[in-house]
């Protein structure tokens, strides 16, 4: 496995955008250096011959965990909605999600 290129300021800005984080210029500089250092250290995972080794999906594998399809009580709606920053007609209310109509 080849080691990827060193992470750049532009990479960090891109990743922050994907993760819905807004960073100041100072934070971008700081995080770029810190993430590069951590990734450089982590690159030693590539030092091992891993031919034929399967990736771990679960430490203790359990498969097909099913339960009977029965009606059961769920969380109280008012109690759940009571924690929301904004609610309207028993629904979570958010600002607009699409652009203005043309």
């Amino acid at each position: 496995m080849t080691t990827p290129e060193r992470i750049t300021r532009a990479d960090v800005a891109h990743v922050a955008n994907l993760a819905r984080l807004e960073l100041t210029d100072e934070e971008l500089d700081l995080f770029t250096g810190q993430l590069a250092q951590v990734l450089e250290h982590a690159a030693d995972v590539a030092s091992l011959d891993l031919a034929g080794v399967k990736p771990t999906a679960h430490a203790m594998a359990v498969t097909n965990v099913l339960r009977p399809d029965e009606v059961r009580p769920c969380l109280d709606r008012d109690e759940v909605l009571g924690q929301a920053p904004s609610v309207e007609d028993h629904r979570f209310r958010v600002p607009r999600i699409l652009g203005e109509a043309p």
Partner: protein
């Protein structure tokens, strides 16, 4: 100065009517009141709720009924365990004020066992850290030396037990977050086999690694708490449906005839004083009748690297839920994406942002194979190597932490240096196996932790060996205990 009262005796005294749960609770609350201004183990002390619980326990006893094995025992909860109607913050601004609509399974089990929940303990934000300094509410201080960190991320729970505020506490361990603070605070901390304790109601960090486990002043107390919280839970699909042995009943088998391997690779990076203490503890095991040899699991040295790709990867996905829509903080903006971004940028601290970005990067197109995929293969190798080692050894032993408690601020600006604190604990997490840290003495007044790890589901034998070793070592942690007026 009294010894820490083992919880089993405390519970029996309450069950028999010899002591009242209310009186036991008031002692705990008084100790917190006197000492927690300095230690800051708690985010929240639930005095009213706890008093109501204690009164109910006493009423049960008065009615001639049995409140359970933890009757009247005060317990502290790490603040990432959901408590219905009581704030659960993960020491993050993004959850400030949130009151969960349900209890974690472990909380329900504690209450059914008669325990009294006294409060929520401080932690690294979303359990990301090794010093409790990334908490949005300020650091916890080590009761042995208040200029030092308590370790992390469950630093508040470890400190609460070390300071004598509570005899028992729960934490969560993803890469060492129970064992490392237990070591730094001079208490017992245990990470169970993955899937043994229900994660329902534990706020997720890295779901393939997270496990809840006990803190206590003694091995027997940790075993008592483990017995109460363990066992299958249909509400957690990764909870294993197999019989869980009650470990407390087997705590006197000793270590004679066991073969123990001292893990050479984890001694290499540790401070000389830590290595010396670990060697002494290994000698004590030998003197108690165990055969002690050197063990080698070469791939554990890659554990830290694999962990810091896998855990942030899972975290970046788990923490996507904090979007300002359903609970917690919201920073308003003109559209939803801008609102999500403003909320997350204001609500998360620097370490959480770093881990989310690290994880997003390690999972992103073009880098997935090199980072996350490779790390998961390394994880498989580490698990296989441990499995192989356990063909020759009953237990593997190692330092819990490469150093004793470091000074507040010493590593706060250097993420990689902080991550290296987890060097001795992440390999067991990756392999999903159980491990316990017990105090093995002091070095310049600071506790040193000794870690024992066993194969999956070896909890009963692991507690047993730790119990025998604890008696051989005879650690005295009383110097850290804070008392009312003391």
């Amino acid at each position: 100065m009294s010894a820490p009262r083992p919880s089993a005796y405390l519970a029996n005294a309450v069950r028999s009517g010899g002591r009242s749960a209310v009186e036991v609770l008031e002692e705990s609350l008084a100790a917190i009141d006197a000492g927690d201004g300095e230690v800051h183990a708690f985010n929240l002390v639930m005095a009213d709720e706890a008093r109501a619980q204690a009164v109910a326990v006493d009423r049960t006893v008065a009615n001639g009924e049995d409140p359970g094995p933890l009757a009247g025992v005060p317990v502290a909860l790490k603040d990432n365990l959901c408590t219905r109607g009581v704030p659960t913050t993960c020491s993050s601004r993004i959850l400030e004020g949130w009151r969960p609509p349900y209890d974690a399974t472990v909380v329900t089990r504690l209450q059914r066992a008669g325990a009294v929940v006294v409060g929520k303990t401080n932690m690294d934000e979303f359990a990301m850290g090794s010093s409790t300094e990334t908490s949005a509410f300020g650091p916890t201080r080590n009761p042995h030396h208040t200029g030092r960190v308590p370790g992390g991320s469950s630093g508040g729970s470890a400190a609460a037990v070390a300071a004598g505020f509570v005899p028992l506490a729960l934490g969560s361990d993803t890469g060492g977050s129970i064992r490392q603070p237990a070591a730094l605070c001079g208490v017992v901390g245990m990470k169970p086999t993955y899937g043994t304790v229900s994660r329902y109601g534990l706020v997720a960090f890295a779901s393939s690694l997270d496990q809840i486990g006990p803190f206590a002043a003694t091995v027997a107390d940790a075993a008592l708490l483990f017995d109460v919280i363990g066992g299958h839970d249909p509400a957690d699909s990764t909870s294993l449906n197999r019989p869980t042995p009650r470990v407390l009943s087997v705590l006197d088998d000793g270590v004679a005839g066991l073969t123990v391997g001292v893990l050479a690779e984890l001694l290499d990076g540790a401070d000389p004083d830590v290595v010396a203490r670990v060697r002494q503890a290994a000698d004590a095991l030998a003197a108690a009748g165990a055969r002690v040899e050197e063990a080698s699991v070469p791939e554990v040295v890659l554990g830290l690297s694999a962990y810091y790709l896998i855990a942030p990867g899972e975290a970046s996905s788990n923490l996507a839920r904090y979007d300002g829509v359903r609970y917690g903080l919201r920073r308003d903006a003109e559209d939803t994406v801008a609102m999500n971004t403003a909320t997350r940028s204001a609500g998360f601290g620097a370490e959480v942002k770093r881990r989310i970005m690290l994880g997003t990067y390690a999972l992103s197109s073009g880098y997935y194979d090199a980072y996350y995929g490779t790390a998961q293969r390394v994880r498989t190798r580490i698990a296989e190597d441990f499995h192989e080692a356990f063909a020759s050894f009953d237990f593997i032993v190692a330092p819990t932490s490469p150093t004793t408690a470091f000074e507040l601020g010493a590593k706060a600006q250097d993420p990689l240096a902080m991550y290296l604190s987890d060097f001795c604990t992440v390999p067991m997490s990756l392999a999903g196996i159980p491990a316990i840290s017990i105090p093995s003495g002091l070095s310049e007044g600071l506790p040193v932790g000794f870690q024992l790890a066993g194969p999956a589901f070896s909890e009963n034998r692991l507690f047993d060996a730790a119990y025998a070793l604890e008696r051989a070592i005879g650690f005295d942690g009383s110097a850290a205990r804070r008392r009312p007026g003391g």
